[in-house]
Symmetry: C2
Subunit: 338 residues, 2 copies
């Protein structure tokens, strides 16, 4: 049961392996007849070129890596998984090899970013779910390999970031709340070290200032994207500031925690408190008659990142910052102030 290799099909076809290789790679300098025979034999023998040998033998095959943080396995909102599927899709569309890497995963703990890339012979890489304080982040920026980074600032050649306009998105969300008559609007933010959190805060602040609304420091809380932390923060928030009628949350999962806290205090959403989330996770539509939120499309983001990397590898110019669309989705956790 030996694996059939290119030599086997060459022998069967009565041609050289050179010809088989060229026929399979779509070169034009193979006679139609020869090509047809080779293709027939490939079919019959179920021959499939070894991807490793292919990558090794050629300087043409390009392989794109996707680097995930070790937190990927707790991908509560499906963002990382969506990204991954998008990158995979781009790879198969552009005929690139795809390789997945998760940091800290036991065995590669000691490796540097550069080593990771060399090991897998990466032509380019997309990075997602990394934190700014991850050592790989700096290394990545310094490397000269094409990188597309999701939701994080980048600098340098062959680097780009793929994201949505978090500032505008947040501002829209808060503006909406204001349009509904809310004046005392708090924010439940993610993590102080996350790029997206900084931007979402900026959007919130922009909207508040635009409308001359009061914004005590303490109105902004950090829930670390965790439901439980969010729950606790909101409990404290509403206790201290009973005037609050709306909370803008930097993730749907935290919005869920906020809602739980509101309920815990014997209040209702949206009657007493309006809640708006971020992400539009799959279940957002279905819980509490529908979560109002800001939609972003993780799949699309991953795809754009993969495509950008591909283009950089090809030597094409890409925008240093690729901004994808978002959308404010109003469902049932927001209402006119009573």
């Amino acid at each position: 049961m030996k694996k059939v290799n290119i030599r086997d099909v060459a022998k069967e076809a009565g041609v050289s392996i050179t010809t088989v290789s060229r026929a399979l790679n779509g070169y034009s300098d193979v006679s139609a007849k020869t090509r047809a025979k080779i293709l027939e034999i490939v079919e019959r023998l179920e021959y499939a070129p070894d991807a490793n040998a292919r990558a090794l033998g050629s300087k043409e095959t390009i392989t794109i890596g996707l680097l995930l943080s070790d937190l990927a396995s707790t991908d509560e909102n499906g963002f990382v998984h969506g990204n991954m599927c998008g990158v995979y899709e781009a790879c198969s569309e552009y005929d690139c090899e795809f390789v997945l890497m998760i940091t800290e995963s036991e065995h590669q703990k000691m490796k540097s970013f550069r080593q990771l890339c060399k090991r897998n012979n990466l032509s380019g890489i997309v990075v997602t779910g990394l934190r700014t304080n991850d050592p790989f982040y700096e290394e990545m920026l310094k490397s000269d390999i094409p990188c597309a980074v999701v939701d994080m600032e980048t600098t340098g050649k062959m680097k780009c970031t793929v994201t949505i306009d978090n500032i505008a998105a947040s501002q829209e969300a808060v503006n909406y709340l204001i349009s509904q008559g809310h004046r005392h609007i708090a924010m439940l933010n993610g993590s102080k070290v996350a790029d997206v959190s900084i931007r979402r805060y900026a959007g919130y602040k922009g909207a508040m200032i635009d409308h001359d609304l009061l914004m005590p420091n303490d109105y902004v809380r950090y829930g670390d994207f965790s439901e439980v932390k969010a729950y606790n923060e909101v409990l404290d928030l509403l206790n201290k500031y009973p005037e609050i009628t709306a909370i803008f949350c930097a993730s749907d999962v935290m919005a869920l925690g906020a809602i739980r806290a509101v309920h815990k205090m014997g209040k209702e959403v949206p009657t007493d408190i309006s809640i708006i989330g971020f992400d539009d996770i799959p279940v957002a539509k279905y819980v509490y008659r529908g979560l109002s939120t800001v939609r972003q499309n993780p799949n699309e983001i991953g795809y754009a990142a993969g495509k950008a990397v591909y283009q950089m590898i090809q030597g094409h110019q890409v925008d240093h910052k690729i901004v994808l669309p978002h959308e404010l989705i109003i469902r049932e956790t927001t209402s006119l102030i009573k």
Copy 2:
């Protein structure tokens, strides 16, 4: 900026590439001194052995594939992603290469299962999220490569299935409902062609029969694991059978749809209708004050599958059916009958 290869470190160390290779692969027949020097140089040059060349040059390196269905990108409950992280973890623990494959992904539409395996030089493969009617399913069973299949029946050598005891789990869930005084219990099942659905139905039926409870055919509905479909089915169900006081759902996402339907009819959960889900998706804890459900651990399942494949590759015996633990989690969507 040429990539540094094994020859470079050999030259730098003043030894042969053979020695470098052996030092790096942990052979014992290299003097401590030589090994130390080599390691130092590897560090300094940031050398990382090319994985492709390694796989090609050796018959020892084993690579394990993970095959996902093309539906993977809509992994609403995170099951597939959890599986993936588990398999990845097993691979890095056992020092195997990991390669991800998604079916139908444009470019590989025409390839056979066998070709997919050869192409990536797979020593073994874990399969998840496939449907029984997927052509790859039959091909996989007929192949002679070690496969671990999540939540699906398998036959033959070098094949095993990794799952939880869906029958027992469902029976426990329904028994619990019965213990709370419920007598008219419906089931919202997944898809008629899914192995898990058949088993979960068997568990439901077992519990009902054990307690001599009425179970009209129409009490069992199929929601295809979709929230919307579930919503519609439950609407119809409750209209036709106002005596129903509890619904056992084959997934949390469908449970969410069921709850929405209950609300739509002006009833309350759990006061009027008790709902129990399946999966324990990340948000289950947080919605509607907590969804009662059956917990399974996708990560653990993936890990076990990866490990089983590894063991089969090593020639070790593995159970033909690996059954992982589940747990009935009672939260706030179930209660004593009023």
